[in-house]
Structure formats: structure tokens, C-alpha cells
Symmetry: D3
Subunit: 298 residues, 6 copies
């Protein structure tokens, strides 16, 4: 009890100074996260928008209750409107903030409308691509018993569906939001696909934990990848030691390639040719011709 | 404001057509997730049942409030009843749906009762196995200070407890549900154990991220595994290129084996003999005799 | 319907015996989780305290609503008080329980006050270290566009912020709680840092999935690490086969070292010298001199 | 502890029979609430629809967060769509059920669409009436400081807004739902207005607890009523003692009437003439001419 | 901003003393609500138990989701068990507390088991009585269209169902809990029935707001009551001015009586004879013979 | 299905116009609830602050979990701080809004600090008054068994505790918030006390439904009131028919008065003298001398 009273007294006398010190630390030096104008900092809003988008692509998969067949029309319409309204608010805020913050001559705010239109009208195409991805998963995994099992339980589906949405926003120049989306999928699946990566339909990642796909990767149709595969940069820095921001740093993977578990493929000039098979545990920093089969020398 | 009004008008005129297109895409071509009869699509129901089962095995570990000692009896009885009632509903639905969907001559619905009885009466055995697993963790990890720490914080416990439940349902032929259970553990722990794998008690996985254990793996008593280990197939396809569904594709691990981090062991004919030690970063596609020690040649 | 009635009758007749068996199993043999006195077993309480601490370090990042600028002062003061009160309760319980449980001559309960004071007064220092970590991330990753993106989306931030808190509690001898904190970060990020590891500021882990950093690791300033890196023990056992609890088992990493993806560095006597570069997929069990560059021989 | 075990044993042996008895009681004799087809029984769905409607009439008043000015358009559109979709589902269910239940020759299901259209297109008129009601409240209550205070705190507003919605549905012949709506307002405000009552705009009830307004009441413009006023039937039964279902049983109140606290006005032939003032605690079963002032003789 | 800082400083300096003053006020003089041993103080637990009981009496009426027909058996069994377990905990606590508090020679704790058995085995009888009450409502109210409407929307149902449960607990001598149950119904319906009142089946209260039924009231079969009726005491005090605790203070109402709105019937020796009709607004302090009709003299 | 499609098409074509009409109606004519600057419109924030205040007065009574004895100090301190911070935000907003709205020369914003200080430092006094109220309830109601029962179940306690807080804010000139607080208590208890009424300690209302206490009422010490009592105005209008805003309109009740059920006492010049007893159902518009006993002439 005595110690308890001592703690109370210490809190009463010490907290005022400690609070001032922390407040000063937050307000000066480095003030993160956009002051009062930017409401995304909790990220939950972004997750909700993403879930609404994913819910249109696979109704019922990302919500506790599945819409009945006869409610489907209303469900889709409501969802699209909701996406439009919520994205409008957040894109408006985020473009306003980053323009002000950077003092750039910014007409980006005018692009908010255009981005929403592009996203909504792209959803049928994104869904078609995802159906191809599901076919690839079924054809590529002997453990898959039916499409439902894939949609309901494969982590890859969450990763690629999220990526196809975040990649579209990335291409339209939306700051931060695509990365927040991708990192949620990363956290849940262990699959880390940068929103910048360009991935054709028919893609499949089995198991997936530890997969890393870098910002400037391109991947062709019907490519299969296993757990622990890295498609990365040889070095993040150029010869002067400065980060190679905005440059092509990661490999190109052509159609029909298979990359087995824990293979590492690095470099912006590295091309894995159409139909090549890259064995597990390999380390590749140069191009591989079409149809080649590369084994690990371990 | 102008742009805002433009967006509104665009939504008013464009959404009706877009909704029709998406609805058609969902209803035709590929209609996933069992129409109105299958209520599991949100997966939350399955997670709740699993948490109730895990809650009986480790009371308080999977619920915000721990039952008091004197409430334990009521808590267990309530939980078992709840498991029975909820599983009955979902198994009934899921067997009905997959029978109808596949037009197979199905007496599986009659098995629902039997499956529930088997699961409930197996819980004491599952708990005994898990206690052995905890002992293995304590004996195998110098960082473990006590059993409580293992149960409360080791990701391995969630993975193996979930597996011992999902494996039982898998053996009884339950569709989809075992995989949904296993993939939740995979998402939370980075440990990917297929429900089909057969694992004896006294098992321990340290750290665990990136571990993959395939559908037809068997693991003996007192086996220890570290992060990044793959127990997989050499190829998912046979010589004709069709997926090897239902075949033995993954290795057998005998009693007392230790497999260090990032080792890869592949193939349905590969047997790791009793007491063998497989070093880190190794790549193994052939059997290893009992007692052998295999180092990486990297 | 018949089967349904059969199940009911079976539950009515079989559950009483089954409940007794499970209750006995829980109460005897191994009774986990501290009886009625220890309320942490659900772990949610620990997560809430951790989120409050992280919320003081990055206001708004770990709560759905961000405090307005003018509310910041109240927010911090409220948070610190809340941390103090909640930690007091749980530390008091946990020290009481483990003292009683172990029958050790325990004056640890008197340390509760002191631990809370140390934690609260350390928060400004922890925040300064984290700002250095963010600078390292920005300098080390070409894909990072600004600090906000790092704080809002990089999994590394959650891992290192959690670690800096759990490490402080670990050093003060708090049982179990630090590990519960660290394992939440592990689950969400795939980065497994033991609370015992000592990490200087300016640290950065890119991608992160599969990283394992052991209990007795030390890491110097401005070290960079990539996905899949293990800083581990050569063996958890000494020559007699007993776990090497409490001994130095893991390597020391000096300032300015870079360790690329999937490198494995093992052993308590292994030192990676200042400024060394460890290539991807390497396997290292002996010390590396300062400035050295080590490539994989695969 | 003994008693505790006794109770367990009693539950184990007695519950099976008790459950059978209760199940039989629920399934036979009187089986309420529409079997599996009628999902309104929990009433929460009806409350949510009502709150969405009220939210369109007074944005922000019935939801935790108020829409920003620039979000208002999206908010209204979303709300109207949501009302349409949800009402469609519940009206369809409820008409189907009551048709089946009553074996009447029912084309009422075809009326679902029409009812929804009438409700939605009536909302601007309902809002205009409510604005008149608010003006009456401001003019009639010296304690009212401004319109905001009335909208935010007067129980009358909830009662009359709910009534104007439930009355519309009542007129369209919707079963049960209007009464569920009205009774929520009754529970919260103590004001019991039957959905059948017809009330012109400019109505005001001060304090309101205990007010009862019967099914066949009509009320003219700018009528003011105080707490405890009953507008009721002389007797619910006709001379033969059977309930007078569907007959005119309650009074008509003409324009500009004021009825003070605890007055009771009964009978289907009773008319309170334009501009009359009915004093507190009066008991009136015959018509009162226009402009008359009636005092209590107590 | 200045004022803001002033407030902060005032809080820092003034709160410690203010907290001490309030803590002292709570701990001394009058210390309510049973210290740490009594967990009911938030009342939510009692409400949950009551809702579970009401849910067994009218499945689906008091829970968001209605059990399907085929789930009814499980639902009832689960509910009864849940009621048993939760009541056991709270009755045990509350009897322990009030015994300790009052220093009475208490064997009441032994009665906990017996009370639970009596409550559970009485549920079929309580349900039968409630069905009679519903019949009375249908027969007595011309505005009632069907039984569903009564069960789903009449406030009287909540009041009488709650009363039939709380009265049973009152008769068994349970402290406080019956009153907490009754007051929830009072709050929601405006009908204030003391748990002590004894009410035969076939009871009906129309509208109900303002009805007060005192502790020692008895009511016979098929009695109908309207809004604002008081069945009360002439005076709470005896001639010496001390409260007449435990004495008969309220009237007896025999079978088939009708009491119209706002009638007041007072006194422990007042008997309203079988079949009497009491008019609205009457004030009665003496007995009324069977079959009499009493009108208001106002 | 046809009708369903018809409805969809109608929504698609008709909603845009309907939304415009409603938006215009909300934005023009009468624009309620303070635009974007006033966040109280959902009222939930005000309820939370009130619950925190009531929670300090009766710890545990207004929150699901009761603070343990040893946590009491932290609980009170946290609560007071929370009240200060939250009130500061809302008072600041509301004073700013009403000043701007009314164009009055307003220094009221400077009063925010002062109001918070007055409220917090008044809490011990408010608690002392409430303890007196509880004593009055125990002495005045034979059905009350102990203080706990009164605090946990009597609606009067919620009404008077809320009133003592809202009255303090009313006296300080806070707009709207006091009325929102009082009306919550009115909704839950049926007791309608205007925040302006001045009530000395030792007050008790039994049953309470239908009680109305007007804005300019004053009530002395140890006054007891029963259900349905009105302390009101003779007329809300002066001779010219304009509302008598800000004038004394309601009676004064001196010490030790008892007012039985459904009595009505009206008028700003009406004084009920010390110790008078007002019988049930009386109608009083003139003063009553001290010690008098007034019966109903009905």
C-alpha cells in the first residue's frame, strides 16, 4: 500500500514535466502524420475502404454476413457508392496535405475525380484477372480441392487481390494509401508485394510466407512462385551510396515461369525468359534464357 | 466543389451499368461460395468455433476473460455443447452443399453426428498431446523460462493446437473447414501446416516463420524444427504435367529428428531416419539414415 | 432429423463424463496460467497497455482517432497515467504470482513502482531512438517516399517500437509480459526479435518476414538487415544436451553493418565487425573483421 | 463446493427433460414469430432502418458521427439506397409470411415496390412537416432557447418524427413494423402515439411522459398537448363485449387546440373544435365547440 | 491557447488534492456497493442473465438473431445451462456479501442451488402464464391485430415477463437482483411493478406509462389495467412516522377487474371485488364490492 | 423478381433528383446543428462525459467493470482528467459556435476554463448532496431494504445525480449540453427535471414516472415527491400571447414538503410552505401555508 501511495505521489509530481518533454518531442524535430488535416493516420479507414472493394470482388468473403443472391445488386451498388464517397474524402485530404507539405505546384487535387472513376470502372477487369489467378492456383496446387477452398483459405488470394487494387492507385500517383493496403496483406500473409510491381493475370504464389516482390518488378502471364522467393534489387544504393529512388532496380519475369521456394533473383537488368524454371534455393543475378532450367548448386 | 459535383453526376449516370456488369460477372462464369445455403463464407463463424475448442484445451488463453476455478466445470460443459451445436449447423450445411454441387452419391450427411462425437471425445487426447508439445518446447528452447510463457506467447502453440484440431476434421473428410482453420494459424504465426500432415506428440517449432509442412508429411515423436524449414514436394506435377492430387508427395520424419533453420526436405519417398540431425540451409531430396548428421555444403 | 435427435441424446448422456475428464486434465498434471489471481492470460490487457505506450510515441498511429493538436497535451498526460495504473495492477499480480509459485525469497514486488517510473521516464529516450530508426529506413530504402509512409506502413516500425518497450521491461526482470509484447509484433510483421536483444538506435529491417534475432544478440548503431536473416545460436544445447539457459548464445553485430536477405549468423562468440557487409544467403558461424564483405558461395 | 457439485449433477440429469418440455411448449400451442422465414423478430433490423430514415431527416442527429457539409450529398444518397434495399427485404418477408399464415388471397407482395417508392418520395414532405413541428415547439415553450436545443434534446421530436414515418407505413397496410417503430419511441419518450393516428403539421407535445394518442385520432394544424394527456376510447368493447377492431373509437382535435396536462378526452364521436383550450386534469367525453375554454372542476 | 495552458497547470496542481477528497468521501461515511467482492454493481451482468431467461421464454425476441427451428433444442439447453452457471456465480457472491455485511446467522448460501433449480423448473409454468397474458392482450385491445404484434411491440409484454421472473426470485429472498430486473422494465416501459407484487395469469396493461403496482399488491386472473393507474399505499409511514417496512400496504384486486386510465387505488385493506370496473381518474381508498362500477366524480 | 428489377431501375432514375431535393431542404430554409464545427450533434459524446462524471460519484455504477479498491485512486484521477479534457473540447466548440451564430459580443469562450474548474471542484459537494438524497429515499420508502438497492435500482438516483450536474452547467450559462443530459435521464426514468430547477439536498422521488419539474422551480431540503407530480407554469404565454422566456413561471417548494402522486402545482407565485403535505390528484394554483395538509376534492 505504501509503495502504491509513493507511486501516486511520484505521478502527481513528475508527470507534468514528462508530458511537456514528450509534447515538445512530438511537436518539434519531427512532426509526423499531417497535423489535424489528415485523418488516415489510424489506417482503419483505409482498411475499411479496401475491404469494401474486396467485398465487391468476392461478395461475402470480406464481411461477416454474405449478401443473399437477391440482394446482390443492392449490395454492389451500395458498395461502389460507398467506395466513391469515402475515397473522395481521403484522396482529397491526402492530396491537399502533400501538396501543401511539399510546396509543389499541384494540380493533383483535380485528379481525385479521375482516380475514383478509373478505379471503379476497372473493377470488372480486376475481377477477371483474379479469376485467372484462381484458375492458376487450382491447376498448380495438388492440395487444392476446389475453387471455394482457394478463395476462402489461400493467403495468396488476399495478397493478389489487394495488390491489384493498390497497384492501380500507385499508378495514379496516390501517396501512402497503396502502401498501407499492401502492408496489411503483407502482415496477414507474409507475402510482401510492393504496390509498384506490375503483375499479369494467371499469377499464383503457393504458401507464400517470406515472398518479397520489389517496386519495379514486372511479371508475365501464368507465373508460379513458392514461399521465400525474393525478386529484389542487387543493392539499394548506386555507386555514390545514395538510394536509387525511382530507378529500375528489380527483375522482369516473363510468361509461364516457375520459381521454386527460397530462390533469390536480383537486379534491374535480370530477365527470366518465358517458360524458364528456377529451382529452389538458387541465387540469380543475371538473366536466364527462355525455357532454361536452373538448379541450386547447394 | 465543381469536381465534386462532376463526380456525383458521373456516379449517378455510370453506376447502374457498372453494377450490372459486376453482378453478371459474379453470377456467371464463376460463381463462388455456395449461394445462399452456405453461411461460412465470412469465415468468422469457423474462427469462433475454433476459438471455443482452443478455449477448452487452454481455458482463458483464447478469450478475454479467464473462467474462475469454480466456474471451470460450467465453462467446459457450455463450451462442448456450443461446439456441438455450431459444428452441427455448419457441417450439415457444408456437406449438403458439396453433395449437391458435385452430384456425387453422398451419404456424408449422415456422418455429421459421428464427426462431432469423434471430435468431442478426442479432446482429452488432443490436450495430452499438446502438453507433450509444451514439454518439448521447454526442453528445446533455452529462452523459455516456464510453461506459462510458452502457452501465452509462443506462436508454435497456436499453430500446433489448431493443427491437431483441423487434422482430425481433415481425416473425417470435412471439406474446406480444416483449411480455413489452418490458414488462420498460418496468417498469425507464419507457420503453414497443411491439415493433412500427421504429427505425433512432443513436437516443437522454434520461431517458426516460413515453416511449410505439406499435406502428406508424417512426423514422429519428439521432433524439433526451426524457422524457414520446408517439408515439401519435389514437384506438384507428375510427368504428364497434371497435379498429383491425392498422392504421397511429401517426406516422412521419424522420431527424435532435429531440423535446423531454412532446411528444405522434399519428396514423397524421402525418409529422415530416427534421431537424425539436419543442419541449417540444407537441401535434401533423398532419404537420410537414422542417427545421421547432415550439414549444409554452403 | 433422426440423426439430430441422436446427437442430442448422445450429448445429454456423454458430456457429463467428458467434462469431468477434461476438468481433471486441466486441474491436475499441468495447471497453467496462474489460477484465479493472474488476469493476463487472455493477453488483451497487455496489448492494450502496449498500444497506449506506442500511442504516446506516435500519437494517432495506434488508435482509430488521432488527437487534435490542441488535445495533444491532455492525450499524453491521460496516456501516461493510464499506463501507470494498468501496469501497476498487472505487474503487481504477476510478481505476486511468480513469487508464490516459485517459493523464492522475493522482494520483487517492491520493484513494481520503480519499474513503472523507469518505463515512463524512458519514453522520451525511446522516442529519440525511434526517430533515428526512421531516418535509417528513409536513407536505406529507395522505395520510401517520406517519413509518414514509413511510420504508417512499414512493419519494421511496429517491430522495433515494440522491442524498445519490451526490452526495457525484460531488463527490469518482468516475467512473461515482454515476450507477449514481442510475439504480437512477430505475429503481425514476421519479425521475431527476442526481448533480450540489445539494439542501438538507427536500426532498420527491410521487408522483414522471417527475421530472427536471438535473446543475447547485441546490435550497434545504424545496422541494416533484410528479410529472412537469422541471428541465432549454433545449438540450443551444451555438450551434455541441456539447454544453455542464461548463457551468451547469439552473435554481436557492430556499428554500420549491412546484412542482406536470408543470411544466417550463428554463435555467441561470433562478432561481425564495424562496417562489414554480409551478402545474401550466407552461412556464418565465425567472426568477420571490420569492413569485410562476405559473399555467398552458392 | 459440495453444493456446487450437487447443482452440476442436477443440471446433468434434469436439463434434458426440461429442455424437451420447453421446446414442446414453444413448438405447439402457440408458436410465435414466423418460424425461420421472418427475420424481424429481434427488432434491431427495424430500428436500424428507422434510424437511417431519421438520419436523412436530421443528418447527424441519429448517428454517432455527423456527415461533413461536403459529404451530405453522398450521405443522403447512400441512406436512401440503404433504406430501399433493407425495406425491400423485410417487407417482402413480412408480406410473404402474413399471406401464407392467413391463407388470404394476397397480392400484397406486389405492393412492396410501391410502398418503398411512396416512402422515399414522401421524405421531403415529412421533413417540411417536422420543421413546422419544430417552429411550434419554439413558439410554445418558453424554456426553448433555439431550434438546435429542440432537435437535440426534446423527446417530442423523436416521437413525432418516428410517428410521421410509421403512420405512412401504417396507411400502406404494412403489418407489425409501424407498431415496432412507434413503440421504440414510446419506450424512449413515454409518448405513446398509435401509428394509425393522423396528425397535421405544427404539432407540439411538451414534456410528454404519459401522453396516449389512439389509433383513430385525428389532429389538426398547430395543436399543442402537455404531459399525461389521453386521447382515447370510451371503451374498447362494443355492447356485446367484443373488441371494436377497425372502428372509429377516438376523438378528433381540430386546428389550434391546446390541451393541458393530464386531460383525458375520450370517444369516437368527440370533437374538440378549432381553437378550443382544454384545461389540465379535465375529463371529456363529449364534443367541445370551437373557441371554448374548459376547466377542471376539481 | 493561454487559457488552455492555464487549465493544464490548474489540473496539474489541483487534481491531486481533489482526488484525495473524493476518494476519502467514497471510502468513508458511506461506502456503497459491496467492495471488491460484489461484481453486479454495473448491472449489465444481471441484464444479460435476464435476457437469456426471456430468450428461452420467447426465442429470438430478446436477441439479435433468432434460432432456426432445428437449432431450438440446442438453443434452449445452452441457455438453461448458461442461466444456471451465471446465476450461481452472482447469487453466491450476493448472498456471501449480504451475510457478511449484516452479520446475520446465514445459511442462505446453501439456498443458492435450490433457487436455481426452482427458477429453471418454473420456466414452463411462467411461459404458460405469459401465453395467457398474451391472450388477454389480444382480447382486450381492439388495436391488436395478431399475437406476433403483441409479443414484438407491446411494452406490457416486457414488463410482465420480467415481473414473473423477478417475482420468483423475490419470493426466494434474493437481495437486490429482482429490483434491478424490474427497474430495467420500468425504465423501458414506464410500467413500475414491484417484484413483490403477486399477479395471476391473464393480466394485461394497455399503453402502460405511469402504472405503479406496489410491493404487497395481489392481482387475480384476467385483470386489465390502463395507463397511469396506481395501486399504492395510503401512506408509507405508520402513525409514529416510521416506514411500514414488511407490512401489507397495498390493495388486493380480484379476478376479472378492469381499471381504467389514471385511477388511483390505495391501502392495504382495500379490496376491489371480482368483476368490478373502476373508471378513469378515480381515487379509491376503500373496498369496492364484486361487480360494482365506479365512475369518477370529476 | 420483375418487381425487384423495377425497383432497381426506379432507384437508379429517381434517386438523383430526390437527393438534390433533400439536400436543398437541409441546406436552406432551416439548417440545424451547427455545420461542421459542432460535433455534439450525435449526443453520444455528451453521454460519455456525463457517465464519466456519474462514475466518479458512484464508482462502478455507470461502467461495466467496477474499479478494485486499490485502483480507486487511479480511477478517480483518470476520470477527472478525462472530464476536463473532453469538456474543454466540447465547451470550446459550443461557445464558439453559438457566439458566431448569434453575433453577440461574446467573452464566453474565456469562461470555459472557469466552468471546468467549478464543475470539478464541486464534485465532492454534489456527492454529499446525493448521499443526503439516498438517506431520504431510505427513510421515505418502506420497500427500500438498503442503500445499495437504492443506488443500484432506483430511477430517482439517475435523475437527481444527472440533475445536480446539469444544473451546475446551466447556472454557468452552458448552452444545450445541460438539456441533453437532463433529457437522457428523462428518457430512462420518466422523470423530467429541467436543468434550471434548484433543488436542495435530501430530495426523493418515489416511482417517478410522469414527474415534471419546471425551469424556475425551487425546492427546499428533504422534500418528497411521488409519481405523476407536475410543478409547472399556469400558462407558457403572457397576456399578449408571447412565450414568457426567462421569467419566474414555476412554484417554490419549501423544506420538508411531501407531494403525493399526480398532484399538480402551478404558477410562479405559488409557494408550498415548509412541512406542508399535498394530497394525491390535487390541483393547486395558489400558495399553501406552512404545515397545511391539502386533500383532493375528487
Amino acid at each position: 500500500m505504501d509503495t502504491d501511495i509513493n507511486l501516486r505521489r511520484w505521478l502527481d509530481t513528475s508527470l507534468p514535466g514528462l508530458v511537456d518533454e514528450l509534447e515538445k518531442s512530438i511537436n518539434s524535430g519531427y512532426h509526423i502524420e499531417g497535423g489535424d488535416t489528415l485523418s488516415i493516420s489510424g489506417r482503419d479507414e483505409i482498411y475499411k475502404i479496401l475491404d469494401t472493394i474486396l467485398g465487391v470482388l468476392f461478395p461475402g468473403r470480406y464481411s461477416p454476413h454474405k449478401p443473399l443472391q437477391k440482394e446482390l445488386h443492392y449490395f454492389i451498388h451500395d458498395s461502389l457508392r460507398h467506395i466513391g464517397a469515402k475515397l473522395h474524402r481521403h484522396l482529397d485530404e491526402i492530396f491537399t496535405y502533400y501538396c501543401r507539405d511539399r510546396k509543389e505546384n499541384c494540380d493533383c487535387r483535380q485528379r481525385v475525380d479521375s482516380i475514383i472513376r478509373i478505379l471503379l470502372t476497372s473493377l470488372p477487369k480486376i475481377r477477371r484477372d483474379l479469376i485467372e489467378d484462381i484458375h492458376s492456383a487450382y491447376d498448380g496446387d495438388p492440395a487444392a480441392n476446389n475453387f471455394d477452398e482457394i478463395v476462402l483459405s489461400y493467403p495468396f488470394i488476399e495478397a493478389i487481390a489487394t495488390h491489384r487494387v493498390s497497384h492501380l492507385l500507385y499508378k495514379e500517383g496516390v501517396p501512402i494509401i497503396p502502401r498501407i493496403m499492401s502492408e496489411r496483406a503483407h502482415s496477414r500473409t507474409g507475402i510482401d508485394i510492393h504496390p509498384g510491381a506490375s503483375i499479369a493475370p494467371g499469377f499464383f504464389i503457393d504458401h507464400g510466407t517470406g515472398v518479397v516482390i520489389g517496386e519495379t518488378v514486372t511479371i508475365g502471364r501464368n507465373v508460379k512462385v513458392y514461399q521465400g522467393v525474393t525478386l529484389g534489387a542487387i543493392s539499394p544504393f548506386d555507386k555514390e551510396g545514395t538510394p536509387r529512388r525511382g530507378q529500375k532496380r528489380h527483375p522482369d519475369i516473363e510468361d509461364d515461369v516457375i520459381i521454386y521456394a527460397n530462390a533469390t533473383i536480383l537486379g534491374g537488368k535480370t530477365v527470366i525468359g518465358k517458360g524458364a524454371v528456377i529451382g529452389g534455393n538458387t541465387w540469380i543475378t543475371e538473366s536466364v534464357p527462355p525455357g532454361a532450367v536452373v538448379y541450386s548448386n547447394c
